[in-house]
């Protein structure tokens, strides 16, 4: 599947340019964090990579792609988890069934991941009555169950309290440890430090920096990144 290459990628809605000519090469391995202020285009960039949006210009190339269906080898977790009106177990099994797994296989795999994210005791409860943190863990389980090569996470803890966010972060690390490439967005510097191995810093639709985490925080090369790290608000 990887590396993922973005070539002069642009996305516009009407006259509004949201992503402006981004080129980058994302390798297998390190946890990639897409960092930037609100409205920088982080979520849109991720949706373009995942194929939910079509770029208005430029190309997305999965270099290691095995025959055809690249979507099969990716999964995504959204900022607000979308839970189907069925049990927690049913939600995980839904994705597996779409991936063409047999019923018994689905159930085994689904129970396994629910166990890992700590929701096994809630397996038969309706997903929509779970708490926000539990729903997000369930969303992670649903994505992880598919065994993706790449997992996209869009601000996965933005709506959660610190303790729920901590649970999510440790699950993300477990998924990383299992060999899945993590690509996530955040506007939270602390989370970027904790979870990131490399940073793509976006500002106003442009890729300002692509650097290993240490270097990014020690000596940011762009004024926008330096200001963002210092917590100033130059875009206002």
């Amino acid at each position: 599947m990887l590396p993922l290459e973005l070539h002069e990628l642009s996305y516009a809605v009407g006259d509004t340019q949201i992503i402006r000519g981004i080129s980058a090469r994302i390798e297998a391995g390190p946890r990639t964090v897409i960092l930037g202020p609100n409205g920088a285009g982080k979520s849109v960039l991720m949706r373009l990579c995942h194929g939910l949006l079509k770029p208005t210009a430029g190309r997305i190339i999965w270099h290691g792609a095995r025959n055809g269906d690249v979507r099969r080898h990716q999964a995504m977790v959204f900022q607000r988890p979308v839970m189907l009106r069925r049990s927690a177990l049913g939600n995980v099994m839904y994705g597996l069934k779409l991936a063409g797994k047999s019923r018994s296989e689905c159930e085994l795999r689904a129970m396994d991941v629910l166990e890992v994210v700590g929701l096994a005791q809630h397996a038969s409860r309706p997903a929509r009555v779970l708490s926000g943190g539990e729903q997000q863990r369930l969303a992670l389980a649903r994505a992880w169950a598919l065994g993706p090569d790449v997992l996209f996470l869009d601000e996965p803890t933005a709506n959660l309290d610190p303790s729920a966010a901590q649970d999510i972060e440790s699950i993300i690390n477990a998924i990383h440890a299992s060999g899945t490439k993590i690509i996530m967005t955040t506007h939270n510097l602390g989370q970027a430090r904790r979870l990131g191995d490399e940073i793509l810093f976006l500002s106003n639709g442009r890729l300002k920096e692509h650097a290993p985490i240490d270097r990014f925080f020690r000596e940011p090369a762009s004024t926008e990144a330096a200001a963002f790290i210092k917590g100033e608000l130059p875009w206002q």
Partner: protein, 234 residues
């Protein structure tokens, strides 16, 4: 005032005594309207779902048309079905004018657009919420449509009940294509119209009470289902 009181007490006696004529009329009403609702749902629900998740030229016009068809006047539907089924009409050879089948056809035409239009709205609202998640999981449009129908099943049930209420309460269409023939095509609404004009108020009132009771029951049922579903599934 006095005659109204007498009519009421006579009506209650008929209801309490399970009057045979009244029971027969209520039975036929239910049979016709339930059949029409089942057929209209089988036609309207997939159509609504297809329009909700589909992207094709003329979609917006189709939605406008469908919404407009919700307001079809029953007498006009009755007239059109009458013309189609009458001996000289294109479907005259079927020979089903003035039969319950003709009434089912008319009511189906009346409520299929209601079920299609309202389920289109419900499913499209859900689609907006689920769209990215379902596409991310690799669901194609048909799978997505099935998932959305299942996930909105309680709202859709309310829509089907609304369709049934409309069918059971309408008089114009069944009067024209059924003919209000005693024992054959006489249903609650047509009987009320006839008995009132004949001056047989107890039967008319008795049927009116059953009809209002039925509508109340349906709405209570819809409310209970929604409430239970919300509590159970969120």
């Amino acid at each position: 005032m006095n005659s109204m009181g007498e009519a009421f007490s006579a009506a209650w006696q008929m209801l309490a005594g399970f009057d045979a004529e009244l029971a027969q009329i209520v039975g036929l009403s239910l049979q016709v309207s339930i059949t029409a609702v089942v057929i209209a749902t089988l036609l309207g629900l997939p159509l609504g779902a297809a329009i909700a998740v589909g992207r094709f030229p003329g979609r917006q016009s189709l939605i406008v048309l469908l919404n407009a068809l919700m307001g079809l006047p029953p007498v006009v539907v009755g007239l059109v079905v009458y013309l189609l089924l009458s001996r000289a009409g294109p479907l005259g050879s079927l020979g089903i004018l003035f039969t319950p089948q003709a009434m089912v056809i008319a009511q189906t035409i009346l409520i299929a657009p209601i079920i299609a239009a309202l389920s289109r709205q419900t499913i499209e609202d859900a689609w907006r919420e689920y769209d990215e998640q379902l596409r991310s999981l690799g669901a194609h449009r048909l799978t997505a449509a099935m998932t959305l129908i299942w996930d909105t099943r309680f709202s859709l049930l309310t829509i089907v009940l609304a369709g049934f209420g409309r069918a059971a309460a309408e008089v114009g269409a069944v009067m024209i294509v059924g003919g209000n023939i005693d024992g054959v095509t006489r249903v609650m609404t047509t009987a009320i119209a006839l008995e009132t004009s004949k001056g047989d108020l107890p039967l008319a009132l008795g049927l009116g009470i059953v009809l209002i009771g039925l509508v109340l029951l349906l709405n209570a049922l819809a409310a209970i289902i929604r409430e239970l579903a919300l509590r159970r599934y969120g």
